[in-house]
Structures are given as structure tokens and as C-alpha cells.
């Protein structure tokens, strides 16, 4: 097409926005992003293995440096849960810890070189294969991953609400809060408004959770692509390294902050699900 520049920056970025997709059936819904799935499950396994090994060898005596680090993370998360959620937190702290560590791991993939998978494929299968094989290894820059995580949190929050108030109590609160009334007729009139507001409130939670994490990681990844694409070539190698380093250092803050926010909001949602109106 003559109207659009071929090659160069635009093509470089478009090439890097493709996922490694496997088609299972008809339509865009039946396709799987293999790269996001493989990387996220591998990172989840890595997290489990790391913490399991440290927990198995834990001593009450003088802890090793590795054990002290793991204890630091667990205690940090547990303190956050204790401050926000007042109740039995035997299942809430592990949930918050898994979310925090898993999201941190997946976000940290952003700091690894963007073109490393492409270069590995080029080294193994040649340039032609590298051009047709797509691989994005930041799972949280894929909206499917973040929506999956947010949906799990959504169902866990509803489960906590049902457990704390009973299924009937939870259903009753859907139609009687936030507008209260003592007169039974007025109460009946307020049912549609209450139900509508509650449905919107419940649905906005996973959407905002997923979009926040996805938007931050996708934006960060695009800036890395932009820097890498703009500074491609041998003359601009050094400025490219400097710009990438500067953005990466700033990005460390975003990586940890977004994982922390995802964890904190999960805890806050669970805590509000336990509150009686």
C-alpha cells in the first residue's frame, strides 16, 4: 500500500504487537495466546517453587538470607491484610501474597530485552522463521491475562460476600442497599434502583482492575518498543541504551506499584464484601 510507510518504526512496532496465537475454532474468541499462557504459568510455577523450597527449609533459629527475604515479603503482605481486613485471614493472606508475587513476576518480564525471544528464534531457525514467529513475553500486557485475574478476584469477592452474610443475606443486600427505607411499599419501589446500582458497582470492579494493570503494562511496553525502534542502528546504540535504562528505572516503580495496587484493591474489595449495611 502506497499510502502507508512500509518498514521502519511503524512496522517494527506492529510486528511486536502480535501475539503467538493458536486457533482452536472459528472466530476470534476461540483463539489462545500461547505466549501469555506459557510465560504466566511458568512464572507462577517459579513463584510456588521458590516459596515452597524456602518454607520447607525454614528454621526458627538464625534464618538464611533467602529465608529472611521471603519472610520480609510474607510479613509485608500480612501487615497490609491485617490493617485492611478484620476477620479470619487464613485464606486472604495467601491469596494476596499469590496475587502480589505473581503480578510482580509477570510485570518484571517487561524489564527483560524486548527482542530477546526474536533473537533466540533467529539464532535457531533463521531470519525467515523469526519474521513469522511472534512472541510477547509480558503476560500482563495482554488484556486476556488481566481480565482472567480480575474475574477470579470478582468471583472470590462474591464468594466472601455470600459466606459472610449467607446466600439469602447477600441477595437481600443486593436489592435493599444503598437506598434504605422502612415502609415496605417504598422498599419495593427502590428495588430496581438498588439492584441496578449494585450490578454496576460489582461489574466496574473487575473492569477497572483489569484495565488499570493492562493499560500500565501495555503503555510501558510500547514506550520500550518506541525507544528500541527509534534508536535502531549502530550509531544510536549508546543513546538507545541510556534512554532504555532511564525508562526501565522509572518502570520499576510502576511494576511494583501496580502489583501492590492490584493486591490492595483485592483486599479492600474482600473487606467491603464482609461489611453489613
Amino acid at each position: 500500500m502506497a499510502t502507508e510507510p512500509q518498514g521502519g518504526l511503524t512496522e517494527y512496532i506492529q510486528h511486536h504487537l502480535h501475539h503467538n496465537t493458536v486457533q482452536l475454532g472459528n472466530g476470534p474468541f476461540m483463539s489462545i495466546h500461547l505466549d501469555s499462557l506459557v510465560v504466566s504459568f511458568a512464572l507462577g510455577l517459579l513463584f510456588c517453587l521458590w516459596f515452597w523450597l524456602k518454607a520447607r527449609k525454614a528454621t526458627s533459629g538464625v534464618p538464611s538470607k533467602g529465608q529472611a527475604f521471603v519472610e520480609l515479603i510474607v510479613e509485608f503482605v500480612d501487615t497490609q491484610v491485617k490493617d485492611t481486613f478484620h476477620g479470619d485471614r487464613r485464606t486472604v493472606t495467601p491469596l494476596a501474597l499469590s496475587i502480589f508475587m505473581w503480578v510482580t513476576f509477570m510485570n518484571t518480564m517487561d524489564l527483560l530485552p524486548l527482542d530477546a525471544p526474536g533473537m533466540a528464534i533467529r539464532a535457531m531457525g533463521g531470519a525467515e522463521m523469526a519474521h513469522h514467529t511472534f512472541f510477547r513475553w509480558v503476560p500482563t500486557a495482554d488484556i486476556n491475562t488481566t481480565i482472567g485475574l480480575a474475574l477470579c478476584v470478582f468471583f472470590i469477592v462474591i464468594g466472601h460476600g455470600m459466606k459472610a452474610k449467607g446466600t439469602l443475606g447477600f441477595g437481600k443486600e443486593l436489592v435493599t442497599a444503598p437506598f434504605h427505607a422502612h415502609n415496605p411499599i417504598v422498599r419495593l419501589v427502590l428495588v430496581p434502583a438498588n439492584l441496578g446500582l449494585n450490578i454496576i458497582e460489582y461489574l466496574s470492579k473487575p473492569v477497572s482492575l483489569a484495565m488499570r494493570l493492562f493499560g500500565n503494562m501495555y503503555g510501558g511496553e510500547l514506550v520500550f518498543m518506541l525507544i528500541a525502534g527509534l534508536f535502531a542502528g549502530w550509531i544510536s546504540f549508546l543513546p538507545g541504551v541510556l534512554f532504555n535504562t532511564a525508562w526501565a528505572i522509572f518502570h520499576i516503580l510502576i511494576i511494583l506499584l501496580q502489583a501492590f495496587i492490584f493486591m490492595m484493591l483485592t483486599i479492600v474489595y474482600i473487606a467491603t464484601a464482609h461489611e453489613h449495611h
Binding site: 502507508e4 511503524t10 493492562f214 493499560g215 506499584l257
Partner: protein, 95 residues
């Protein structure tokens, strides 16, 4: 109108939209961060013993305030580099 003119039209409007998305988003995020930062410094000067508690919450809120802007930035960059509107136009024209 031929395809070149149509594409140029869409690209021009997209460029304006990108400017508005990033500009207004940055304006809002900067004002939010500035107000929160000034309040944080005020309260830190008034009660220095609360600084560790407030600092954590300030970073949490900074992330929340920044989020909408960064989502807007991601959408704007998507429109800048792989404009879905032009792809739809090409499908419609059959090119």
C-alpha cells in the same frame, strides 16, 4: 474520493484525537498528583510522626491517579502505531 484522501482524512483526525487524549489526560493526572503532593507535604509538616503511614498511602494513590492517564496513553499509542480505523477503512474499500 480515492483511498489516499480517505486515509489522510482519518489520519488527521486521529492525530488530533491522540493530542487530546494525551494532553487532557496529562493535565488531569498532573493536577491530581500536585494536589495530593501538596496536601501530603502539609500534613507531613504538621505531624511528622505520621510520614511513614502517609507515604505508603500516597504512593498507592499516585498509582491510582496515574492509572487513567497511562491507560489513555496506551490507547493513544495504539492509535498512533497500528490504527484500527485505517484497517477498517481498507477492509471497507477492499484494498
Amino acid at each position: 474520493m480515492n483511498l489516499v484522501e480517505l486515509v489522510a482524512h482519518v489520519q488527521g483526525l486521529t492525530a488530533i484525537a491522540i493530542g487530546i487524549i494525551i494532553g487532557l489526560g496529562a493535565l488531569g493526572a498532573c493536577l491530581g498528583i500536585a494536589i495530593m503532593g501538596s496536601k501530603f507535604l502539609e500534613s507531613a509538616a504538621r505531624q511528622p510522626e505520621l510520614v511513614p503511614l502517609l507515604q505508603g498511602r500516597m504512593f498507592l494513590l499516585a498509582g491510582l491517579i496515574d492509572a487513567a492517564f497511562i491507560i489513555g496513553l496506551a490507547v493513544a499509542l495504539l492509535f498512533a502505531f497500528s490504527n484500527p480505523l485505517i484497517a477498517a477503512l481498507k477492509v471497507a474499500v477492499g484494498g
